[in-house]
């Protein structure tokens, strides 16, 4: 997930650079690059971020679910209660 976020951040930087270039130098090449490649990179970056969030959410849910299934501390530390054997039933007279 960290790698995904790093790639996402790097793509964001490139997309932002293209956008800023088109704003500062509004000539055909920068404007077209910003509106095509810049948008593509920016959208990909945001999609990667969304994916990372999704992966993080699923992992945290799994951890929470697993922790609910674990035995409690009391169950682990205390010896199991001794179960008295049931008395044999009296034979019918």
């Amino acid at each position: 997930m960290r790698r995904l976020l790093r790639i996402s951040a790097a793509l964001s930087l490139v997309a932002l650079a293209l956008m800023v270039w088109s704003v500062l130098v509004p000539t055909p090449m920068p404007v077209m690059l910003a509106m095509s490649l810049g948008q593509l990179l920016g959208t990909s970056s945001f999609a990667m971020f969304g994916l990372a969030v999704l992966v993080d959410l699923r992992r945290s849910r799994r951890i929470r679910r697993d922790s609910m299934q674990l035995p409690s501390l009391k169950e682990v530390l205390l010896p199991p209660e001794r179960i008295e054997p049931a008395e044999p039933a009296e034979p019918p007279r």
Partner: protein, 215 residues
């Protein structure tokens, strides 16, 4: 520096986002709640602000004469528009506050519901033509070859110049040609009427003539 508020919003979004992204890439902080929130702003909120307002600023920039004149073969057209001594139709329109710095777009944009889209598609054709046919040419070589792909229709003039006001109808040529002008049988920009729009304007060419000129 840009004067468009959307351009400033785009720059502000980028200025806020870039430090966050560089901090994340360089410092590699642990993924705690603060880092996640910072990344939401750095990758999500601020870049979306930049992309949205940057697109509007970019679109507005494509309407300016500076944008059109940035291809070297358009330099004479832009210079004529900016020339205060010029009496060409383009120059006179550039001195009109309603068009001003957007006088190229004001007259050459398509009219109608999807006019903006068809204009922008036409603009891509201009980029193609410039890149593959005109980029290597000098201005002197290019000027005789530059031509309109389609005839200049009168509705681009009549969207501003109404043909119904008494002052317009009072002109004899207007009154006698009103039907022909509506059918584009006669052009407003014809020689002897209000044309040529630019000192270098040429009559509309057919497909065959265009191929011959651009060969």
């Amino acid at each position: 520096m840009p004067h468009d508020p959307f351009a400033w919003a785009a720059l502000a979004g980028a200025a806020l986002s870039v430090p966050i992204l560089i901090w994340y890439l360089v410092a590699r902080p642990p993924l705690v709640r603060t880092t996640k929130l910072a990344l939401l702003l750095g990758i999500g909120v601020f870049p979306i602000l930049t992309a949205g307002s940057g697109n509007i600023a970019g679109y507005e920039a494509t309407k300016t004469r500076r944008f059109c004149g940035s291809c070297h073969v358009m330099t004479p057209y832009a210079q004529d528009s900016e020339d205060l001594e010029s009496t060409s139709l383009a120059a006179r329109h550039s001195r009109n506050d309603a068009f001003g710095k957007e006088n190229c777009y004001a007259c050459h944009a398509d009219y109608g519901m999807f006019g903006t889209i068809t204009t922008k598609i036409g603009g891509l054709r201009h980029v193609y033509e410039y890149t593959f046919n005109f980029r290597q040419l000098s201005v002197a070589e290019a000027l005789p070859r530059i031509h309109l792909l389609e005839p200049f229709t009168n509705d681009r003039c009549t969207r501003c110049h109404s043909t119904t006001v008494p002052g317009w109808r009072a002109v004899g040529d207007h009154a006698s040609l009103v039907e022909e002008l509506g059918r584009d049988a006669v052009s407003c920009l014809g020689n002897g009427c209000h044309g040529p729009a630019h000192p270098f304007s040429k009559p509309h060419l057919d497909e065959g003539e265009i191929e011959e000129v651009t060969r």
